[in-house]
Structure formats: C-alpha cells, structure tokens
Amino acid sequence: MKLRGKVHKYGANVNTDAIIPARYLNTSNPDELAKHCMEDIDRHFLDKVSPEDFIVAETNFGCGSSREHAPVAIKAAGISAVIAKSFARIFFRNAINIGLPILECDEAVEESDTGDILEVELASGEIRNLTKNKLFHANPYPDFMLELISTGGLVEYTKRKLRAERAIE
C-alpha cells in the first residue's frame, strides 16, 4: 500500500482533546467528528488537508482519553497515516483497530516539515521525503496488519476471517 501526500507537522503530546474535543462527542458519526478534527490547536486544519496527507508529530501522539473518535476523526478528515516519534498506547491500538496506519520513525519526524511531500510504503516501512529527497525507515507492517488496515479495521478483518474459516469447513 503506497500513500502519498503532504505533511502537517505538530509538536509533542498532541492529546485526544486536541484531536477531537469532548464537546463534540455527543455523536459518533465519522463525518461530523471530522469537521472538528484538531480545531482547538489548529483552527484551519480542515482547510489545509487534502486526501492522503500525513500528520507528522513528536512524541506521545494521542495521549489522554480512550476515545476511538480520535483516530476516526483523523481518518475521516482524509489523513492517510500518522507518523510520530511515539504514540500513546490506547491511541496506538485504536488506530490499528479502525484501520488508520501509524508509523514510528524519529528521523522522518525530525527531518520533515509542514508542506513537504512524503511517499510511504507500509509493507516495507519506507518513508520517502520527495521535497528533501531523503529516505527513512520505519518498522514494516506485517501482512496480517496490512490486510487488517486495507479491509478497514479489526471488525471487518475478523468477519472476513470467520467467513473464510467457515468456507473451509
């Protein structure tokens, strides 16, 4: 799976209240949530994002609450993947479960700036900064996780797996 888009860069400890403020959690509709994604720390986020763009951030991205609405809002806003130095643990699980790719790579974060164009290959973990002509390596995604992400998340993946097992029986 190859992704290509521009960078929107943020600092450390981007928390779930910043990603989607709790005052909007009276709905779980992804498109409604996307409208308010990042608004408390970046009011013009939605105007700037084009489909397939990346969020790039420092350490502990997604800290705070367990709300799955956070990766859902990011994904529905059109972001194709989040690249950070580290992720908060609940966010990490939630992102994978709903099919939002996330990558940990210190160098890519340090050497990428807002507006740079990246090309990311999840199967190899390669992150190419086309603007700066540099190549970085994150851990590659194993096959089952690539399949999980391409099917749209854990639930779809589980359903397909169960269906395939039943077909064999």
Partner: protein, 418 residues
Amino acid sequence: MTLAEKILAAHSGKDRVAPGELVNVKVDLVLSNDITAPIAIREFERIGVKKVFDPRKVVMVPDHFVPNKDIPSAEQAKIMRQFALKQGLVYFEVGQMGIEHVLLPEQGLVLPGDVVIGADSHTCTYGALAAFATGMGSTDIASAMACGEIWMKVPPTIKFVYHGKPGKWVGGKDLILYTIGDIGVDGALYSVMEFVGEAIEALSMDGRFTMANMAIEAGAKAGIFRVDDKTLEYVRARAKRTYKVYEPDEDAEYARIIEYDVSRLEPQVAFPHLPSNARPISQVGQIEIDQVVIGSCTNGRLEDLQVAAQILRGRKVHPRVRCIIIPGTQQVYLEALRARLIEDFISAGAVVSTPTCGPCLGGYMGVLAAGERCISTTNRNFVGRMGSPQSEVYLANPAVAAASAILGRIASPEEVMN
C-alpha cells in the same frame, strides 16, 4: 514476577509471563459509558454475535453527558440503555448511577486480582484494589464483549517507592501530580506503575484510587497497589463473589525503581496545559480564578468531600467565584448529606450537582468561557478540556481547591485555616 505479571499470567492460563510477551487474557469485567458504548455496540453488532459472553461481566454506566445534556447525548444514552436492557447487562440508571470509576469499586464489582478493561482511559483507577485494569477503545471493547478475552502485550513494571509521612494537606493527588511532574506525561508509557512505601501504606483507599486514576496521565497502561488490611477491609464489606490476592515475588524484576522522600512534599498544582506542569503550592504566585470544581473520578469520593467541607465550613466562597461540587455517586452524595457536608457547601455558597463527569471534559455543568480560569480536582488540563480553547485549568487536591474558592485565587489551605 511482579504483581501485574502474576495477574496476567493467571488470566492467560500460563505459569509465567514476561514483559513484551503477547498474551490472550480472560477478562473479569468489561466496562463502557454513554460516549464509548454506542460505538462499541455498533461494532459488536457488526461482528454478528447475538449475545455478550456473560451479561454479569459487562457493565454500562451513563455518566459522561448524563443526565442527558442535549438531544444528541440523549440519543446516545438511549442506544446504550436499550442494548443493556435487551442483553441483561449490569446497568445503572439515573438515580443509581454515579461516575463509573467511583461507582464500580463502591458496588463491589471490581475485586483484587481481577482483570478489567474499560472503554474509558481512567479504568486504571481499579489498580488501587490490586486489580489489573486498563483503558481501551470501543472496538477492543466490542471484541471483548463478544468473546470475554482480549490480547495484550505484557507491560514492564516501574516501581515507585514513597518514603516518609507527608503533611496534613498532602494527599494521593499530590503524590501522583508530583510523580507525573517528575517523569513526564509519557514517563511510564506502555508500563505499569506499582506504588509502594511508607506513604502509600498510610494512604486511605480513597487516596489510592486517586493515584491509580492518574497513572494514565503518565502514559501508563495501569497503576497498581498491593493488597493490605485497608484493601481487605474495603473489599470485605462489598464483595459478592470470591477473589484472589496476588503478591509480587521477592525477586520480581522491575524496569526501573524510582524513590521519593515525600515527608516535606507540599500540595501540588499542575499548571496549564499538561498534568506534568506540577509546582509546589508555595511557588504558584498570584493566580485569580473564576471557577472551582471539586469532584470527578479522581477526587469525587467521600474523603475528598470531607476535606473540602473542613475548609468551606463556616466560610464563604469568594463572590466572584463559581464553586461546583459533584459527589461521585449517589452513595457518596447520601453519606455527605448525612454528615451534613452538603449543608456546609450550600451555606458557603457552592452548588452541589448530581453525579456526572460533566465539566471535567467540558461537557456541561460548568463549561468555561474564553479567558476564564478554573482550579479543579479533575485529572486533565489540556487545551480546551473544560470548555473554550482559550480557557485554563489548574489541577489540585480538594483542600487547595476549597481554599482557592474562598480566596478567589489559587491558595494553600493553610492560608484559610490559620
């Protein structure tokens, strides 16, 4: 093995587990609330399973935006109520409900040695009872509601040792704020924080719940305490089923051991916009406030209200300040009423609300306008957490919050009590 490793080993059918190992863990309780349950229910139904694995082990609590704050919240609460009643789950309607992490231990639903997962990050609160409890997202919760198991990576444990006896106005909130201030908001990322030492032994159960509650604010997967006489006394009065007490091995391996002398620790105040921005009360300076919140899953228990009442009794809330007090559960409310604490609060000019998470996450019952400042006994002070992104939240213990309500600025309890 550490305490956490022992619990995880027992729940995954293994003799031993080690940090980094992936295990499938049987869960004793699966929790969700009015914000996270609707998504969990939707995903559960997509999986295509008809019934939850065990309705006695699935708990739903409407507490975040309930009593319903608006029509969309009412719709979410309705989805949860209908599912809970249809499936015969453990469910608490308005009138019985309270803030989930105050309510579940009080009702004896969490016991030592349990594994609990909840679609709420502060599920780690139950570590005070020597349970392994951690927050997850709605999809993980849906999967656990279906099969009663969840995969986990066994986390390393960091041991925190607190030496000495802290002073009168220093509680669990100050120990944990000081700790997060020292190690940072990702200082225990993916790890278990185990709390031990003289100061921990002296700490009440309510104080331990406060500390375990905020383990997530250091990035931890869980916070955990060992069982002692206080734990057993708390549990004995409440348990309706058997439980198992686990102890760490003498030669348990810890990723780190961090030691503090807290005998001269002052009450701590965490400045905006991170819980790690902790400063001792003597170094706070002149900070005027508009609002005070005393309550939440962090500090909404009886002891917290007793401390606040001790300071507010016979005094008046500053005329410029809104002081909002929220007992964590109906039981806490009732006990506070019987002890005449509610009378103290209302006479002082505070408002007392029915149990809800409300203002803590900027939901309702005390949302801040741009430029306003609140000192709060809650757990997070992120940008926009309690309302406007231009507002500020300072975190503190109930004594500091109550003293600040009287003086209209962030203040030490000693300024009021002397």
